[in-house]
Amino acid sequence: MGELLSIKNLKTYFYTEDGVIKAVDDVSLTIREGETLGVVGESGCGKSITAMSILKLIPNPPGKIVSGEIIFEGKDLTKATDSEIRKIRGNKISVIFQEPMTSLNPVFTIGDQIIEAIVLHQNMNREQAREKAIDMLKLVGIPRANEVVDAYPHELSGGMRQRAMIAMAMACNPKLLIADEPTTALDVTIQAQILDLMRELKNKTNTSIMLITHDLGVVAEMADHVVVMYAGKIVEEADVFEIFKNPLHPYTIGLLESKPILNQDKERLNSIPGQVPNPLNMPEGCYFHPRCSKAMDICRKEQPKLCSVKDGHKVACHLYKEVK
């Protein structure tokens, strides 16, 4: 599988009145063609900002991509002009957001919004685009698509809207679909349907997916490869089987333990003690050390680097030694 997108040493900072927030701090990752990359981590660890940096959707000011490269199809997107990036948005790379209830413009019909995306990026007139919009709605499993195409967002349920969002995102056959917590706002049965749908579409179209979530269950079900983020940095990276079978970083282990397991008689879930550090006031050394049960002296002084400990398994922790 070839590389579709590779992020190298990306730093995205927010310059606020109180100081600099390093929302994404030296992140490197790669998404291969047809692969689903899961990005996990607690709230505020920089998952969304990493994803939005790809399409330059960072609110500026206060946000700014400070350095790094984002290579997509051989081009560095951080250096792309506004009009170049607009041609990629919604076309080669599209996004599904977390809140299906508010991600559609309330004053336009579902059809209008899908048609707009199609007309903008593809050589089609409105009638052809409408046909295509109806086809897309059928593809994402919306019944009576030729009626729903003229419905307003408020007439659809959350699950239906998220399907419509997916239809819109997939309408221009993107190479990469960024799904930022696509199922968090939905109830469990609908969640499963949406995930099935995404997997099915991915297999049909060979679209790569960057799946952002804090739900490890979703990752286990969907992802091929997993990146774990903590406080703007990647702390562990491996393929999905390896992460679940052999997690190395104490934070990843903590995340896995806080995942509810059925048929297990436990009073309460394990959760990682402590809180995410204040982004304005990061601790010295390993950002995780105040919460880490295995913290050593060196952890308080020196920041661990992300290094390979096994073929395809990287971790940033002083407990492990790099193997060449």
Binding site: G90, F97, T102, P143, M160
Partner: protein
């Protein structure tokens, strides 16, 4: 499958109309408006005024042979009679006919002036709200300055300038429309700007951005339509105040001038004590027209505001 059906059905139940019919936001608004008696009364009065102003003069001309300029020398300053239901003025012109023409002019002034202020106000408000920051700061300070101008004295001054330049009465009407329009966009600009400031932070705008839309399209196709409700309400109410401004100007002899009639100008005769006391038919009807029309517009506008308010439950 079931999800969509349930939701589509919800729309149907509300209206009790035939099945499969999707209830659009406009239908909801119509439905709510219909239940507001005052607003509906306003709407009917307004429609009556519009119909009479538009078609009345045609009927008068082709059925009774009376135009606004036709002078009836045998009936000068005549009280209401069968021939002249509202009497005649001091040169023997039929007051009812002139009222109808006056209505045309007043309503046109209202609509054109408001259209001008809506266009300017929503463009400026849209740009200011969308870009925010420095752009917004500069534009809003400009608006503040503009708002500090005393509206009416300025209007008087500009109208007086028009008088001095001896602009043909025929074109003066258009100048009056433009002046009122240009002087009254600031309120709307503020409303639009305020709404867009909050709308642009909504997720659907992030989604629109992620689709690769241009700024212009985002402002005018995605954001402004979301403010249509307030634009419509403020435009409706604006028509009322534009009509009042025009009446006042014309009353002072600075707006629409003879031979063209306007309601405000017709009331002017009441400055003469004799007319005011004995020739009530000359000034009461135009006064009542102004009052009824503006009140109808305000009632309807308030009703619209309530109907369009998304916070009110259906």
């Amino acid at each position: 499958m079931a999800e969509v059906k349930n939701n589509l059905n919800k729309g149907v139940e509300l209206k009790g109309a035939k099945k499969e019919d999707i209830m659009s936001p406009w239908k909801i608004v119509r439905h709510r408006l219909r239940r507001n008696k005052l607003a509906m009364a306003g709407l009917y009065i307004l429609l009556f005024m519009i119909v009479v102003s538009v078609f009345g003069p045609i009927v008068q001309k082709y059925v009774f042979g009376i135009t606004m300029e036709k002078i009836d020398l045998y009936n000068i300053s005549a009280p209401p009679s069968l021939k002249h239901p509202l009497g005649t003025d001091e040169v023997g012109r039929d007051i009812l006919t002139r009222l109808m023409y006056g209505g045309r002019i007043s309503l046109t002034v209202g609509i054109v002036a408001v259209s001008i202020s809506v266009v300017i106000g929503s463009i400026i408000g849209g740009i200011s709200g969308y870009y925010g920051g420095v752009v917004d700061g500069i534009i809003m300070r400009f608006v503040d300055i503009f708002m500090c101008f005393p509206f009416f004295p300025l209007l008087l001054m500009l109208a007086a300038v028009l008088s001095d330049y001896k602009v043909d009465p025929k074109y003066r009407i258009y100048f009056v429309m433009v002046i009122i329009g240009i002087l009254s966009w600031t309120g709307l600009a503020r409303i639009v700007r305020g709404q867009i400031l909050s709308l642009r932070e909504q997720e659907f705008m992030q989604a629109a951005e992620a689709l690769g839309l241009r700024d212009r399209r985002k402002i005018f196709r995605h954001l402004l339509p979301n403010t249509f409700a307030s634009i419509i309400v403020s435009a409706t109410l604006g028509i009322g105040s534009a009509i009042l401004s025009e009446s006042a100007l014309s009353y002072l002899g600075l707006g629409v001038t003879p031979p063209y009639p306007s309601w405000g100008q017709m009331v002017q005769v009441a400055t003469d004590y004799y007319v005011m006391k004995y020739e009530y038919w000359k000034w009461i009807p135009p006064g009542v027209c102004i009052f009824l029309t503006v009140m109808a517009i305000n009632l309807f506008g308030d009703g619209l505001r309530d109907a369009l308010d998304p916070k009110l439950k259906r």
